[in-house]
Amino acid sequence: MYMDGTDPTQQAPSAQGADDQFERQYFEYVLDRVVPANTVQDPNQFQILSDADFEWWWIKASRTSNLLKVLMKEAATGRDFIGTTASAVAGTATFNGIQIDLWAGTALATAAFPLAVPYILPANRSYTILLTDTSGGNNTVQIVFSGFKLWPRPKVGA
């Protein structure tokens, strides 16, 4: 039961919609960065293009060293996609995110991480990726957000 009193199990299948009226175009947003050695929370921003919303399905990532942590934030809402509320983090300092290898790997190693529920990144919205290196060397990183551009289907006869 949701907060508004509706029960999702009582919804008719049609309420969920069999056809969302979008056509999907394969598209990837690519973030390239050489993270300087030992940088803490190096900010990198990317913005969804204004022409279409983006449905995010996969994360792919390559790096020089796995001693790299990742945080992801959505600018408009302040949403953190990667967080910790762990009560005890024995011996650890500031939370700098998820170890990149736990987040995603390369397509070459068939290690792209699939989002079980695709997520829509709205057009024009900005996202910040904060990268923290502890390898002691420059870390060449590429993070790829793979999915679809959502094109509203033209109305027939319109």
């Binding site: 999907r24 939370f95 390369t106 695709p118």
Partner: protein, 187 residues
């Protein structure tokens, strides 16, 4: 998960073999075999979330960590890593749903049997639950008990991938911002 995401492939070319089960890669199967569409069901409009537990433990040390979960956190997959992982096994971890007072394993699960990392060049080690586990009680907490099996200090990372109800959304299906649409494209 019951139901499926409203998703249309009417004008999208589809790969006829895309839904075949990859040989010996069952743990990475995100969707059940035969599901036509991603079975998100009521998790539509939820946002992806990675809850990360990082602990540095002394040799043979152990600790317990409570994670306060965002509303409707639904655990879908686990990844894990340890800086030291010898024949001793790295670490053991056991998960509890505190609010429901349930153990998610009867004993600590060895690192090798819990999950692995995605990156690093080896076999990708994310472990997807065949059915997700919902922490749907208010103020749910996840308790993680971690035990270092090594005779050296060990930094252990466990990432819990799931879906959460967006904090600014009263219920799934609602617009993200009251009075406005999620996108500015007007659909």
């Amino acid at each position: 998960m019951p139901g499926m995401k409203p998703f249309s492939l009417r004008h999208t070319v589809t790969h006829p073999l895309a839904r075949m089960l990859p040989i010996q890669r069952e743990q990475l199967m995100v969707y059940r075999l035969g599901e036509k569409n991603p079975p998100s069901g009521h998790l539509n409009d939820h946002a992806p979330m990675w809850e990360v537990v990082t602990v540095k433990l002394n040799a043979r040390g152990s600790t317990r960590v409570r994670v306060n979960l965002q509303r409707d956190f639904t655990l879908i997959a686990l990844t894990a890593a340890a800086t030291v992982n010898t024949a001793l096994g790295g670490f053991r971890a056991q998960l509890y749903d505190m609010k429901k007072q349930l153990r998610l394993a009867d004993r600590g699960v060895m690192f090798a049997n819990l999950a692995g990392a995605m990156g690093g060049g080896g076999n990708p080690g994310a472990f997807f639950l065949r059915e997700p586990w919902e922490f749907d009680e208010p103020d749910s907490q996840l308790l993680v008990i971690v035990q270092n099996m090594e005779t050296a200090a060990n930094t252990i990372d466990i990432a819990l991938y799931g879906q959460v109800l967006r904090f600014n959304q009263p219920a799934p299906g609602y617009q993200e911002f009251p009075g406005g649409v999620v996108s500015n494209l007007g659909w």
